[in-house]
């Protein structure tokens, strides 16, 4: 015998203002099988839930309908209430009369009518619902972290210190990411290397961390708690297990001088084919550039490097290697890359010698950088005047719409450092100064008081065509001229300078695209990984067991990145400490009798949960891995033989619901 209880929520005034709740209750009472129908101000409150618990016991209810808000919010609440009363929670269902009705329907009469139909639809479908059991699966306690910048490093150390084994995979030859390139950090002017490199060496030394540099994630299969990972490592032609980092091979390379642009120094410093990106690199092992090395490219080299290497670490036979391992959770920390300003032709990057990106200036300022910490023009002179142009590639519909968030502050920092090192007059050209952060505004004030100029206007263009050849002040000839509308002064200004620094914005790193494909993660239109909830689940993704941290999720500064990385580590710990996880039972299953083995469903499944398997009679049949299925329903709708069904969303249940909605 079906004994249904229906509960209509007022949600304060959210629902009751637009829907005549009493009328809906009366209507519910008239429906076949409904034993009790009630309304309450807040069904989700403790007394609201108690109503349900009491009624189940008192009236022997075996089906529960709650008409309230979205199941996203309170399905779990009411399922638990049913459980407390001893009822299988899958005999309950929610009607959403708030988001889908009260909030979007103007007319009270129409809204009430709509609510009645929603209630009738759900009453119809609960009659067909069956008891379901929640499955469980064990969680592998190891963790994969993709990206070895400050986000990946922070998360790795937090987890490793808690006893978790971490696989840290970094694409470039050293960990450290972009932060390793900075000279100092705002607003405290901490030396970036001084605070970062101890963490890098800790990663290397930590017994719980397996570090895979110069490596890329090839594929990841599986599901929360049970991911199978394949990582490929490129050959660096120097064996990490043997190399002592003595630099002898680099010194004795056939190329006596470094002549190739160094990636780490953003092209302004030079390196040899065999090189270590920077002195604090981890691992401190050289890498041989296969395209430039004389031996690797043409076999014409005496290979002095091999000769001088005492531990015999140079190995030209090294090949691409693949590693496979299992993890229970993944943190994606793929970071960012700087915007390429040659896309904006009016700023003269790549055209004029003394137009640099902010990251190139960071390398100049670094004491281990190509100029040993001096800010120098191409010809070796010190600049007398420097322009820093903000928002390059950011806040611009033609390039990136978003604010890159860190450029204001790093531009202010660069202004301070350039002035300090070179004594130059520094002009910052800004649209708005965004100094929102602890001690940021104070830092802005400090740099203002140091005499740095701030001109409010987005620079229109940089040119070297002088217009004031006869004047003796503000000489333009032989310099770069920054043309800007000073929007506060209401005048067009031409400001001659010796050096232009472009404060380039942040873009998702090149590796992010591959990771997005491998993990089937969703991204914002700009390419940043999407968090599950912008406020309440900022480091979770829509895929269970996969978390994000740092700039992979969007532009952010170092403190925020570290906070997010440690938050992601916390989420991972919370997950793996459980030991096992519950699996939502509303998943799809195959009726082997009906399945023709056509395979249509296999490529459609977004979670790779379906495979074709031979059955005992030698026939191909679809098989759904219950641990992988997320219950999206794609295969159910696609199956031409109607052989796939889904718990809680059977054809009969859905048709009953539709009938309840459309019947007059």
């Amino acid at each position: 015998m079906l004994r249904i209880g229906v509960y209509i929520c007022h949600c304060g005034r959210n629902i009751a203002d637009k829907i005549d709740v009493k009328e809906v209750v009366e209507f519910a009472k008239s429906l076949d099988g409904v034993v009790v129908a009630r309304d309450y101000k807040y069904m989700c409150s403790d007394p609201g839930q108690d109503l349900i618990v009491k009624d189940i016991k008192e009236y022997g209810l075996n089906r529960i309908v709650v008409a309230a808000c979205s199941p996203n919010l309170h399905e779990r609440t009411f399922r638990n209430a049913c459980k407390r009363a001893g009822l299988n929670p899958f005999l309950f269902y929610m009607a959403n009369i708030r988001e889908l009705d009260a909030w979007v329907t103007e007319d009270r009469k129409k809204a009430t009518e709509k609510a009645k139909r929603f209630v009738r639809a759900v009453v119809n479908r609960v009659k067909l619902q069956k008891e379901l059991e929640v499955g469980k699966t064990k969680i592998n306690p190891n963790v994969l972290i993709i990206g070895g910048g400050i986000a990946g490093i922070s998360a790795a150390l937090t987890l490793a210190d808690a006893g978790v084994h971490v696989y840290l995979v970094e694409k470039s030859p050293s960990i450290g990411g972009n932060m390793a390139k900075f000279d100092k950090t705002f607003p405290t002017l901490d030396c970036s290397a001084c605070i970062l490199t101890p963490k890098m060496t800790s990663v290397k030394a930590h017994p719980n961390i397996t570090l895979l540099t110069y490596s890329e994630v090839e594929s990841i299969e599986g599901y929360v708690g049970n991911f199978h990972v394949k990582v490929g490592r490129l050959p660096r032609y120097v064996r990490e297990d043997k190399c002592t980092g003595c630099y002898q091979c680099i010194e004795d390379c056939l190329y006596t001088e470094p002549i190739f642009p160094s990636e780490f120094d953003e092209g302004i410093g030079k390196r040899k084919p065999i090189h270590i990106p920077f002195p604090q690199a981890v691992p401190l092992v050289p890498q041989i550039d296969g395209n430039l090395c004389m031996w690797l490219s043409s076999r014409k080299c005496p290979r002095y490097c091999m000769e001088v290497c005492e531990p015999k670490a140079i190995d030209f036979k090294m090949k691409y290697e693949t590693f496979e391992f299992d993890v229970g959770a993944i943190i994606v920390a793929t970071g960012y890359k700087p915007f390429d300003p040659s896309k904006i032709p009016q700023y003269g990057y790549g055209i004029y010698d003394n137009v640099y990106t902010s990251l190139q200036i960071e390398r100049m300022l670094s004491s281990t950088g190509p100029t040993g910490g001096e800010v120098l023009l191409k010809d070796g002179r010190k600049p007398k005047r420097v322009a820093i142009i903000h928002c390059v590639g950011s806040r611009d519909e033609n390039y990136n719409r978003y604010c890159s968030k860190v450029c204001c502050m790093y531009s202010i920092k660069l202004a301070h450092l350039i002035k300090e090192r070179s004594g130059a007059e520094v002009f910052n050209f800004y649209i708005d100064i965004r100094a929102a952060g602890k001690a940021y505004e104070e830092f802005y004030r400090r740099v203002l008081s140091e005499g740095v100029y701030f001109v409010r206007g987005r620079v229109a263009y940089v040119t070297d065509i002088p217009e004031n050849e006869k004047e003796e002040k503000e000489v333009e000839k032989g310099r770069l001229i920054v043309v800007v509308e000073d929007t506060l002064l209401g005048k067009i200004r031409r400001i001659p300078v010796d050096m232009v620094v472009l404060s380039v914005g942040l873009e998702p790193s090149d590796g992010a695209e591959q990771i997005k494909r491998v993990l089937k993660l969703s991204c914002s239109a700009d390419g940043w990984f999407a968090e599950r909830h912008p406020k309440l689940a900022p480091v979770s993704t829509n895929t269970e067991g996969i978390f994000i941290a740092g700039c992979a999720q969007g532009p952010k500064d170092i403190p925020e990145t570290v906070a997010q990385a440690q938050a992601a580590a916390g989420e991972v710990l919370s997950l793996i400490q459980r030991g096992e996880i519950e699996l939502e039972p509303s998943i799809a299953y195959v009726d082997k009798e009906k399945c023709s083995g056509c395979g249509v469903c296999v490529p459609l499944c977004p979670f790779n949960a379906i495979s074709l398997k031979m059955d005992e009679n030698g026939k191909l049949r679809s098989e759904i891995n219950p641990a992988l299925c997320q219950g999206c329903g794609t295969c159910v709708a696609a199956c031409p033989s109607k052989a796939i069904n889904q718990n809680l969303f059977s054809r009969e249940e859905i048709l009953a619901e539709i009938e309840g909605l459309i019947k007059d």
Binding site: A460, G490, I492
Partner: protein
Amino acid sequence: MDVEEMLETYFERINEIPNSDKFIQCIQCGTCGGSCPYGMGTLFTPRRMILAVRAGIVDEVLQSGAQWLCTSCFTCSLRCPSQIPITDAVIPALRELSLLEGNPPEELAAALMNITRYGNSFRESPRKRDRWIKEVDFEVPLISKKKKAEYLFITECFGAYHRRCKEITKAFAKLMDLLGTDYAILGNEERCIGDLVRLCGEFGLFEDLAEKNIRVFEKYEFSKIVTHDAHAYNALLREYPRFGFKKEVVHHTQFLYNNLEKLKEMFGKLDYTVTYHDSCYVGRRNGIYEEPRAVIKAIPGVKFVEMKRIKENALCCGGGGGGVWLDSFIKDHIKERPAESRVKEAASVGADVLVTACTLDVPMFEDALKVTGLEGQLEVKDISEIILEAIENS
């Protein structure tokens, strides 16, 4: 009109123009003002125009005359981080108010009046529009006789009447003749295409011209339009489709590029150092940068040099957006006209010939040669003229 009415008229107009919803997304960054070739000479840069309109003081903008200090060069629009259609909406809508108020600069008012009356800005009889074909030694086919052609060649007013620009028309027609192109002209049935009219804010006249022109086009069978007039190209490509015109439009630089293999066979040698000026409505507005360069570089003997301000950053000749009719007005407001700065730049990179691809450029630059004293040192030629010269030199 009182200010209220002005604002109402203004917004009514800009709301008809694509992307004008971006108007209220102006972040007051000043990119437009700094990019404007007249930014130094005006009280109201586009940024301040937008600000003033939003503050309800549109009358002050009109009184300043700033709306007429625009060559429609499109630099501000291309660089605007909010993608506000400054050139197509913000300025022309202000100009429309100025026309309605009855105080546009005289020269310009006369030009618009002539276009209304005669279908051309030169106050010439429409019957004389194809007079140039009597000045050439080959037959130029009329579509009214031929009925059907692959290309309809639009000469536009400057190309038909202007003493100097007519030479470009002749040169391009000769090239089509030499290539054996199946083309024809409208002759006396052609009338102003009207891009400058639109940019000057005479929206009603522009619509009228477009509708009449399309009716004429519909009489004949042709598959494409070809024109050497950058503004005619722009209007036919971007504006006429709104009135139902759907045919392919080809700029003569594209046409020459598509026929480059055939042209190469005919080329003789030219001993010039050449630089190329990217006209606003060929380059910046419509993205044609490489085709004209490829054509020029293919001429044997030509040494090609680039100026500093090229492609997206090219400097305007000052003739667009009604600039040709505003010469004396503009002279009052700025120190040096853009065309003067441009020819100096061409000379500074060592060019003997400044090649352009827009009919307005040639008279603008030749005038600037006189002012700057560069006459004799630098020559100005349309791309079709230098191509023809290369052929005739073989």
